[in-house]
């Protein structure tokens, strides 16, 4: 009995070490990426200035990916986050140009984002539309609204005070980095330590069981979309402040990137579920990749080609060992 138990323990330790390596494959991929770029151009890549630069570049993506994580924890995804960021950025600019105070303008933009989220939530949670169709459709409409709000032009000439949100610095670091950190920490905390956070997990894990255990599944799912909408709106506001201008499409490209970041991060958790730590690693991979390829001076088209290959490599790394199993 004694020996058997010990062997069992040993086996367990062995498998969990292997498991950790496998599930940590994406993290290792990330570290490798940093190491390779660091080796190729140590004097540039591994400097404080460049680190700051990478963080600055990914801050807005990190905000959107964090709230996308919430939606993906409940088992859906939201294609409208990019368009919502664009619309909210346009709304805040238009309100400021119209003479509203900064607080009012920002609040207005966040409300618009939350409303878009509420529409997504209503369609998905209550009308049971597939999240893909629902959020793709709102994406289209919201993007149309952004064009209407901007009249297709670039809005600019915003008050200086507003710009400090996106352009100011604190402790030598750009403010958007702190905003991103704050949002990520908040999402992490809420997902982990609040009842709504735990219910988001439960609904994503098995909505049927959650419902039959007395969880208000629809309400819980609805709320996740509202959070995503409001978060995307905040990202849009920061972006507008940073660029000191707004267009109808400025946030659009974040949609696919945000989902990609969450998916990359999902390979980190053993259960393969969305988690904020993984998402940030995912954001990091995307950011380091574009920064690093730029720094080693790969031409744009080849860069794009390599980006796909490297992402696959980073993720496949975590799977190759698994291949035989399932």
């Amino acid at each position: 009995m004694q020996t058997r138990a010990a062997a069992g323990e040993g086996a367990r330790r062995y498998t969990s070490a292997l498991g950790a390596m496998k599930s940590g494959g994406t993290i290792i991929g990330f570290i490798l990426l940093v190491a390779v770029f660091g080796m190729m151009r140590p004097e540039v890549f591994l400097t404080f200035g460049n680190l700051r630069n990478v963080l600055e570049q990914v801050a807005i993506l990190a905000i959107i990916a964090s709230v996308q994580t919430v939606v993906m924890v409940v088992g859906n995804f939201d294609l409208s986050v990019g368009a919502t960021a664009s619309l909210s950025g346009a709304v805040v600019a238009q309100l400021l140009i119209g003479g509203q105070g900064i607080a009012v303008a920002i609040a207005g933009a966040l409300v618009v984002g939350a409303l878009v989220g509420a529409v997504n939530g209503y369609l998905t949670a209550y009308l049971k539309l597939s999240a893909f169709v629902a959020t793709l459709a709102t994406m289209t409409s919201v993007s149309g609204l952004a064009f209407i709000v901007t009249d297709g032009t670039t809005l600019f000439g915003l008050p200086q005070g507003f710009m400090s949100l996106g352009q100011g610095r604190w402790l030598g670091l750009p403010i958007p980095i702190f905003v991103a950190i704050a949002i990520a920490v908040m999402v992490w905390f809420v997902l982990r330590n609040t009842t709504i956070g735990r219910r988001w997990h439960a609904v994503g894990g098995n909505a049927e069981v959650a419902k039959l255990s007395g969880v208000h599944v629809n309400r819980v799912r609805f709320l996740a979309f509202v959070v995503a909408g409001a978060g995307a709106a905040l990202a849009g506001v920061v972006l507008t402040s940073r660029l000191a201008s707004a267009t109808a499409t400025s946030g659009d490209s974040y949609m696919l990137l945000a989902i990609a970041a969450v998916f990359l991060g999902m390979t980190i958790s053993k259960e393969g579920t969305a988690n904020i730590g993984g998402t940030l690693i995912g954001v990091g991979i995307l950011g380091v990749l574009s920064n690093g390829l730029n720094i080693i001076g790969v031409s744009t088209y080849v860069q794009q080609f390599l980006t796909g290959i490297i992402i696959i490599a980073a993720v496949a790394f975590s799977r190759l060992g698994n291949k035989g199993v399932s």
Binding site: H201, E208, L212, G214
Partner: protein, 501 residues
């Protein structure tokens, strides 16, 4: 008490239909405080549907409900919870990606402090509930998805008993449990009864019902046939009320195994299987018993090509087959009826015809083409042969009752006329009548020359059905007996890894 009603929960004239077919037809049910009330009936009789109506999952088409004499309608599970009516639903398990503790307290009653989850209190509640079930060894912080299936079921039970219920409803809680856990569960249920909780209990294991329950309501075809004191009736009587005729012998007569060996296994090892050797003759039924986690399912999966083995040989019809996939095993005539029907046996969203066809594509296709007509005729044959209660080959499997889903799984594999048929818990959740039919089918197949291996956690089933029984313990074969006249205690001691004393 303002009301004279002696019943804590009373349902009257409940009807519910799906797509025009009545699942419940003017059903009456009265539950007293402090009783354990069995709800019995064949597969598809309407038990689970009734439970879902009682707890607000389904709105009935008509009928009324009274709780402690007050008329009441539930608008969903949480409103039933609030009123004190709680159920453990059939085959519903856990949320895999949250902790055991959260699984036990998931709904509105999750404890909070300053708006945040009160983890300490949550874990305390969870531990308390698990201790009641003698499951204190389950770590409450672990992800529930990492527990064994038995533990998962016990967590689900703990969730049901954690709610301070006036009426606690359990739909086949013991289908996936072994005797050990069943006795722990019964103890808890008896204690609750003593505290005045009313319990509704669904099971196809009638011995259990006679051991535990006070009264029984028997359903057939969506109607209540009778409600009676358990003490006033017999198993035989209950069965004939359930199926509407007298039940002959549960088990068919044994046949005579052929001379040639159909399948041989030599020193097979793999995940949770250690050095197993056995052989089965044509026409023979071999039973495999053992405790949960003893490696029986893994052994069958390895033989069926669903799982790799690390060493050992598999010989079919005298030929070593080094098969590495289920498809290859099937081509050698080896078929496995898997254990978990919902995740391994059937595609719930597809029709009966599609489900049966996918296991038989080669035989119903020509040049890679299959027609709907051939799928339909294959399925119609199976429906007739196995008496699958359905509206025809086009009906979605998810709409069938649990037992009839199991028949669809069987049909899929039986249609291949396998030489070696492996069955993993084939009668889990199946009513007595159907069990008897399935035993007949298994014997019929053996009579035609197939070798059959049956894994079951019900020892009487092994004794009644098999020709020979081997017992497994921690991946090894710990004993072998001839089934005729085998003694349960002897089998059990092998299950615990002890040589028979």
């Amino acid at each position: 008490m303002s009301t004279a009603s002696q019943y804590v929960l009373e349902a009257r004239d409940i009807s519910k239909h799906f797509d025009g077919v009545f699942a419940l037809n003017e059903v009456d049910l009265q539950i007293r405080t402090g009783e354990i009330h069995a709800l019995l009936g064949e597969n598809g009789a309407g038990k689970s549907t009734l439970i879902k109506v009682l707890t607000g999952v389904y709105a009935p088409d008509s009928g009324t409900m009274h709780l402690e004499g007050e008329g009441i309608t539930f608008k969903g599970v949480s409103s039933a919870h609030k009123a004190g009516v709680v159920a453990l639903y059939q085959e519903l398990s856990i949320v895999p990606n949250v902790s055991v503790a959260e699984n036990i307290v998931l709904g509105d009653d999750m404890p909070t402090r300053a708006g945040l989850v009160d983890w300490k209190e949550l874990r305390r509640i969870a531990r308390e509930q698990l201790d009641r079930l003698n499951q204190g060894q389950i770590p409450v912080q672990r992800m529930a998805g990492r527990l064994t299936p038995v533990q998962q079921t016990m967590v689900a039970v703990a969730r049901a008993i954690a709610v301070k219920a006036k009426v606690l409803i359990l739909d086949e809680p013991t289908a996936a449990l072994t005797d050990h856990e069943i006795q722990d569960l019964f103890r808890v249920l008896r204690n609750l009864r003593a505290e005045g909780v009313a319990i509704v209990y669904v099971s196809h294991r009638l011995e259990e019902v006679f051991e535990l329950c006070d009264r029984a309501t028997i359903m057939r075809n969506g109607r209540v046939m009778t409600t009676t004191d358990v003490a006033d009736t017999t198993i035989r009587e209950v069965i004939s009320t359930m199926v509407g005729r007298n039940q002959e012998d549960l088990f068919p007569t044994r046949g005579i195994p052929g001379a040639s060996t159909a399948v041989e296994i030599h020193n097979l090892s793999g995940q949770r299987v250690k050095d197993v050797s056995l052989s089965v003759k044509e026409g023979e039924v071999l039973g495999i018993g053992g405790l949960a986690g003893s490696g029986r399912s893994e052994l069958l999966r390895i033989i069926a090509g669903a799982q790799r083995h690390t060493s050992g040989r598999i010989v079919i019809d005298g030929q070593e087959t080094n098969h590495k996939s289920v498809a290859a095993a099937l081509s050698h005539g080896v078929a496995l009826v898997p254990e978990e029907r919902r995740s391994q046996g059937v595609v719930l969203s597809q029709s009966i015809g599609e489900n049966i066809a996918v296991g038989n594509l080669t035989s119903i296709s020509k040049w890679g083409l299959v027609t709907r007509a051939r799928i339909k005729s294959l399925a119609s044959n199976s429906i007739a042969e196995l008496q699958i209660k359905s509206r025809g080959p086009h009906q979605t499997v998810g709409q069938l009752s649990g037992g009839n889903q199991q028949k669809v799984v069987l049909a899929k594999y039986l249609a291949r006329n396998p030489k070696v048929l492996l069955l993993d818990e084939p009668t889990r959740g199946i009513d007595v009548g159907t069990k008897s039919e399935i035993y007949g089918l298994i014997r019929g197949l053996a009579a035609k020359g197939a070798a059959v291996i049956v894994v079951s956690s019900e020892l009487p089933e092994l004794i009644g059905l098999a020709d020979r029984i081997v017992l497994m313990h921690e991946g090894h074969i710990s004993g072998e007996v001839s089934a005729a006249g085998a003694d349960e205690e002897q089998l059990l001691s092998y299950c615990y890894g002890r040589a028979a004393s």
